[in-house]
Every structure is written in C-alpha cells, then in structure tokens.
C-alpha cells in the first residue's frame, strides 16, 4: 500500500523548524541562567534602582496641580486665538447669527478665565 505524502507536509516541517529555531536559544538561555549561572544575590544587587544611588522616599506621592491649571488657562487663550483669526477675516460678510454664536463662544472662554482668576490660579505662588 502506497500512500502519497500530504502536499502540505513540507509546510508543517518548516513551521516546526521555525518554532524550534526561535525557542531553542530561549530554552538554552533559560537553562544557563537557572542551572549553570553562579547565583550571588545581595541587597545592592537586588535593588530596583541601578544607577549607583539608593532610592529614597515613596513613589506614591502627590504632585502639585498648579502647572496643570496653568496649562488649562493657556488653552483658553490658545483656542481663543485659533478661532478669533478666521472670525476677524470673515467678519464683514458674516450674518448676525454667526456673530452672536461667536460672541457666546468668546463669553464661555472668558467665563473660564474669570473663574480661574477668582480661584487664584493666576497668582503664582
């Protein structure tokens, strides 16, 4: 009885070869590290930070939010400038509705600035 080989057997063989090609070095490295490498742990060696200095303090600290507020206030002026320029260019041909919409938008932004000013964000301490 003569069974012809499946036409895909070369692909399977190559796939197995490729997997072995990838995993054999990994397995050898693992074997070397676990079995043959000399293990000499210590307090300094196991330390997380590795630049010669000792880490101190806690990583879970609160950062000051003042720069965040500063960035938010900057956005007010930034967005305002971006929209004011096309508004100024097209001002003479705009209908009244568009003008009012733009003024409402400006009012909202200015409102944010006034709110930040009242909160004392603009006095840098």
């Amino acid at each position: 009885m003569n069974i012809p080989p499946h036409p895909w057997w070369t692909i399977v063989a190559l796939l197995l070869g490729a997997v072995a090609f990838g995993f054999t070095p990994l397995a050898l490295a693992w074997l070397w590290a676990r079995v043959f490498s000399p293990q000499k742990p210590g307090a300094d060696k196991n330390a997380t930070y590795e630049c010669g200095l000792e880490s101190k303090g806690d990583a879970w600290i609160q950062f000051g939010a003042s720069y965040y507020l500063y960035a938010i206030v900057f956005l007010v002026f930034d967005v305002e400038a971006v929209f004011l320029l096309p508004f100024a260019v097209a001002f003479s041909s705009l209908p009244a509705g568009a003008c009012i919409a733009m003024l409402v938008f400006l009012l909202l932004l200015v409102e944010g600035l006034v709110w930040a000013c009242q909160k004392g964000v603009l006095t840098w301490a």
Binding site: P38, K40, P41, G42, A43, D44, K45, A47, E50, C51, G52, L53, E54
Partner: protein, 210 residues
C-alpha cells in the same frame, strides 16, 4: 594542566590536530566577551571613549558593547578621579554587577588620587574598596594603555583554573558578591578602607596614613 598533556597538545598541533579542554574553551569565551559598563568619571573617560572608536577599536577584543546598566556589565573601568562623594556610588555599581566581574583602575587618579591626591575630597585609589584586577598609570593613559590593560585582563581570565583555590570569584561560593559601601563620616569616608580588599603583597591589610 600537567606538563605531559601540554607536550602532547603541542605535538598534536604540529601535526595539524587541534585539541582543547573545556576549561580553555570556557575561558576563551569569557575573555572575548567582556562587556564594560558605560561609566566615565573624568578626563580618562575621554580616552576610554577614544579607545572604543574606529581608530583604536576596542571591538577587536569583544568589548565594544558598553552597557548602560550594571546588570549587564562584566567590567567597570574606573576612569578618572573618584571623589569621596562618588566612592559609595562606585562601590554600589560594582555590587550591582553580576558575577564574574572585573575592575580596571584607569589613570593616576583611580589608582592613587593622582594630582588631586592632596585634596580633602579625593579618594586615594579605588582599590581601597573594591578588588582591582588591572591598574593603569598615566594622566591620562593613552588608548593603547587601556588596550594593554584590557589584554592583561584577558590574559588573567585565560589563565584562571576553574577548580582549586585560585578559581574565579563567580565559581567560589564563599567569596562575597557585594562589598561594604562606605558612608559619609565626620572626617571623610567610613571605613577609610576595606581590609578584606586593600592588601599588601603579603596579603595583610595595608595601612597608609591619610
């Protein structure tokens, strides 16, 4: 290796047969893959950088890969003046390197304090705290001198027997992997030296009045 074995090896090599031992093969691999730590302290570091560049090409010795982490480095080249403020960091970096690890003290400052020896803040040689394998004099040593030191280190690695009393540190579980990190005291570093490391020719602790 016994002398008759050496003779046999020589005889075989004359007839075109190459023989080796596991020990030689192991040491050949070790000495040709020494990765230094990216660690420069002063002007000597500039010469160290020049050594790695195309003109001097430390890559010929398998040491072109300067690792920025002590976890991956085998060799720390103490290249420059070690101040007393820096000494604990140097020792800690050395402690964080995996075994086997080596030290080259490069230049007059690293081996003795050099021209700044009289400074109140200068450590008079890093060999007070960590075991130095090769010392290079010079201010600063030229790249050729660093390469010579590197070849000396390679020879040292090559000649290490893997068994017996003089086996390398990483194969000797009794030897420590970490050395005490000095601390800032009222009058310089405390302790002023590590008596386990800072030895004279007879193997006794060196005493030098600072």
């Amino acid at each position: 290796m016994a002398d008759d074995l050496k003779d046999l090896k020589l005889e075989l090599s004359k007839n075109g047969i190459f023989t080796t031992t596991l020990e030689e093969l192991y040491n050949w691999g070790r000495r040709n893959s020494v990765w230094p730590l990216t660690f420069g302290l002063a002007c000597c570091a500039i010469e160290m950088i020049a050594t790695t560049m195309a003109r001097y090409d430390l890559a010929r010795f398998g040491a072109e890969v300067f690792r920025p982490s002590p976890r991956q480095a085998d060799l720390i080249i103490v290249s420059g003046t070690v101040t007393k403020k820096m000494a604990p960091q140097v020792v800690r970096l050395y402690n964080q390197m995996p075994e086997p690890k080596y030290v080259i003290a490069m230049g007059a400052c690293a081996i003795s304090g050099g021209p700044f020896r009289d400074g109140y803040n200068v450590l008079k040689g890093i060999d007070r705290y960590i075991p130095v394998d090769v010392h290079i004099p010079g201010c600063p040593p030229r790249p050729e001198a660093l390469i010579h030191a590197f070849m000396t280190l390679q020879k040292k690695i090559e000649e290490q027997a893997l068994r017996g009393e003089s086996r390398p540190r990483h194969l000797n579980a009794d030897l420590p992997s970490e050395f005490p990190v000095p601390e800032f005291g009222a009058h310089g570093l405390e302790p002023a030296q590590n008596d386990e490391v800072f030895l004279n020719e007879t193997g006794n602790p060196l005493r030098i009045i600072q």
